[in-house]
Amino acid sequence: MSRHPHDPVTDAELDAYIRTRLAIVGVELSVLPEDDPAAPADRIRIYRSARNFLRNTVPRISGYSLDPQDVPPILYPAALPPPEDAVDSIRGRPPEGR
């Protein structure tokens, strides 16, 4: 049966999504206990955290609107090729390899 886009996503749907995503990239949670609050991590808590993340973080980022003509993405504040002599002048010595 098809679902309406505005129907709330169920836990079962999210769990299937998470399980599939992890399988695609080869991450295996079966080595964790199913439900052991004393363990550092168990599957129940990992899935609960992932569901919360998908329900709360993803729709908010996805729904935020930015002008496509504005703010092209950045990677680093300083991803530039070395300008001529920059390293020399800053350190007062020739760069490596010169």
Partner: protein, 551 residues
């Protein structure tokens, strides 16, 4: 008067360059706008320790008198070492004794290296002058590569990792004469306060050593506790989400998170490629400046450091100046204060108002700031979660190998696999929108701004400094209270100058925690001869609690 470098960084060009990076990568190169305007000053700092210490003497900062060498600051010890009134071996031995006496309580060290430190100190004593850190005992957060010494990031993922080379920052500190005492405890892979992978709390605050509930700060906890407890004179941290400023605030230290690109990340275990920042934790602004001056600069092995303005004279910036016999700001400075920041009848409100009065007395212009409307969304936790993708990518092989190695931090690594490419891209664009907002609608009215938290400046790579302004009393404990100041791109000089002027007028940064109650013991870290025996049971944090604290 030579103006600080932040006055020569053109904000519009800085923003344009941010936006040009992706396009330039795609087309194989482009002409970038110069972000530093031509102008006076901005020359590279002479790294000669001799010249620096002669300058301090010339400024009237003379040999201090203290019985315990661990009470000296870096610059005080530097003066004494150069005058021959203190040896590197004496200074190192005094710190080793404190580590041996108290680290079973603090558990600040992950690896304790007494033999290497003694040998380093002996060699430092044979040098007539050496670098600016010659003979100064320091510590490294355990995510900095150290050749031949385990580098674990306190994680099972790196349990057996021994790098073959030093991180660039480590090489520079060693070349400047620093004496490495050890590697410090941290949150696993720099995600939270110092814990083992299974959540056991390790390091405690130097101000509350018997109460592990008191958060000692972010993941650079071990370095902060070591410096605050006088087990090291200075140390390195890294900040992705508050991990230098947080421990500085919690432990009464001066912590400086530089602008992205100021310090090389080569040889630092990554948490986020776009948000990791190496920087100093110290007992005052001048000590922080000394370490940053050494660590900073372009590194061909880290493209983030190339093409940025040259490292200015941070030491002069952090050296107090006086007018009419009273310490004042080195440069005219407008200090932005967000609405409500110093309001309220709480002790914190009172300390903040007193802080502002002191800055006014030092010549600052206090300017009210209202954050723009888009601020709340762009600084929200959900946009901040974009960082999780960057965390997960470099660790994917380890996640495929055995997720149990991530212990109580596992949730955030898994969640990092669940954002799509378009959402990650939007997060990067949102960072630029946030940067524009900060530069054009906040920093247009001020030179530095007081911030309620490290967010958003560490998200967008702008510099931060944290330092103490007093104490609060809670549950019978006296805990440090501090402030975070944000600066313009490459505005480290300005931030240091404000902290230095404030510290020259006040004594809060000189207050150190008392020694713990109880008997001195032996250290807990590697090489200490005694592992965890005698350590205090201090509880665990579970998966949910770690997620709450996650950086």
């Amino acid at each position: 008067m030579t103006l600080p470098q932040d006055t020569r960084v053109d904000r519009r060009s800085f923003l344009q360059r941010m936006g040009a990076i992706t396009a330039a990568t795609a087309i194989g190169g482009a002409t970038f706008p110069a972000i530093a305007r031509a102008g006076p000053g901005g020359s590279a700092m002479p790294m000669s320790g001799t010249r620096f210490y002669e300058g301090l003497r010339g400024a009237g900062l003379l040999h201090p008198q203290r019985a315990d060498p661990t009470e000296f600051t870096v610059w005080e010890a530097g003066l004494l070492l150069r005058s021959g009134r203190l040896s590197a071996q004496e200074l190192t031995e005094a710190h080793l004794e404190r580590i041996a006496a108290w680290d079973h309580v603090y558990r600040a060290f992950n690896a304790f290296l007494p033999d290497q430190a003694r040998e380093d100190a002996r060699r430092r004593d044979t040098r007539a002058s050496g670098g600016i850190l010659n003979g100064i005992p320091f510590v490294l957060k355990d995510n900095y590569f150290t050749a031949g010494i385990p580098t674990t990031a306190n994680s099972d993922v790196f349990a057996d990792f021994i790098p073959s080379f030093d991180a660039t920052a480590v090489t520079r500190i060693r070349e400047a004469g620093g004496v490495l005492l050890g590697k410090t405890q941290m949150g696993p892979l720099a995600t939270t306060r110092a814990l083992t992978s299974d959540g056991e709390i390790t390091t405690v605050s130097a101000w509350a050593p018997r109460d592990p509930r008191v958060n000692p700060g972010g993941s650079s906890t071990g370095t902060a506790t070591a410096v605050a407890a006088r087990m090291a004179m200075v140390g390195t941290g890294t900040q992705t989400g508050g991990s230098i400023t947080g421990p500085a605030l919690a432990q009464g230290l001066t912590g400086l998170k530089p602008t992205m690109g100021r310090v090389s990340l080569h040889g630092v275990i990554p948490l986020s490629y776009t948000r990791d920042h190496p920087g100093p934790l110290a007992r005052n602004a001048l000590d922080a400046a000394i370490l940053l001056q050494v660590m900073a600069g372009p590194d061909p092995k880290d493209p983030r450091t190339i093409g940025v303005p040259p490292v200015p004279d941070l030491l002069t910036a952090a050296t107090p100046v006086e007018r009419g016999g009273s310490p004042v700001l080195r440069w005219p400075t407008r200090v932005g204060v967000p609405a409500g920041w110093a309001d309220g009848e709480s002790p914190r409100g009172g300390l903040r108002r007193a802080f502002l009065e002191e800055l006014r007395g030092a010549g600052a212009e206090i300017v009210g700031i209202d954050f723009p409307e888009a601020w709340a969304d762009l600084t929200s936790s959900w946009f901040n979660n974009v960082r999780l993708v960057e965390r997960t990518e470099p660790f994917l092989e380890h996640l495929r190998g055995d997720v149990r190695k991530f212990g109580v931090t596992l949730s955030s690594w898994i969640n990092g696999l669940l954002l799509s490419g378009d959402e990650y891209l939007k997060g990067q664009r949102a960072k630029l929108a946030l940067l524009r907002l900060v530069l054009e609608e906040v920093m247009d009215r001020c030179d530095v701004v007081l911030l309620p938290s490290h967010v958003p400046f560490d998200i967008i790579g702008l510099p931060l400094i944290a330092f103490p302004i007093g104490f609060e009393h809670a549950d019978g404990m006296q805990l440090p209270e501090g402030v975070i100041l944000g600066g313009l791109p490459f505005g480290e000089e300005r931030l240091l100058s404000v902290a230095a002027a404030y510290q020259a007028r006040t004594e809060w940064h000189r207050r150190g925690p008392p020694d713990p109650e109880g008997e001195p013991g032996r250290p807990s870290g590697v090489g200490g001869g005694e592992s965890r025996e005698g350590a205090i049971g201090r509880g665990r944090l579970d998966l949910e609690a770690v997620a709450e604290l996650s950086e």
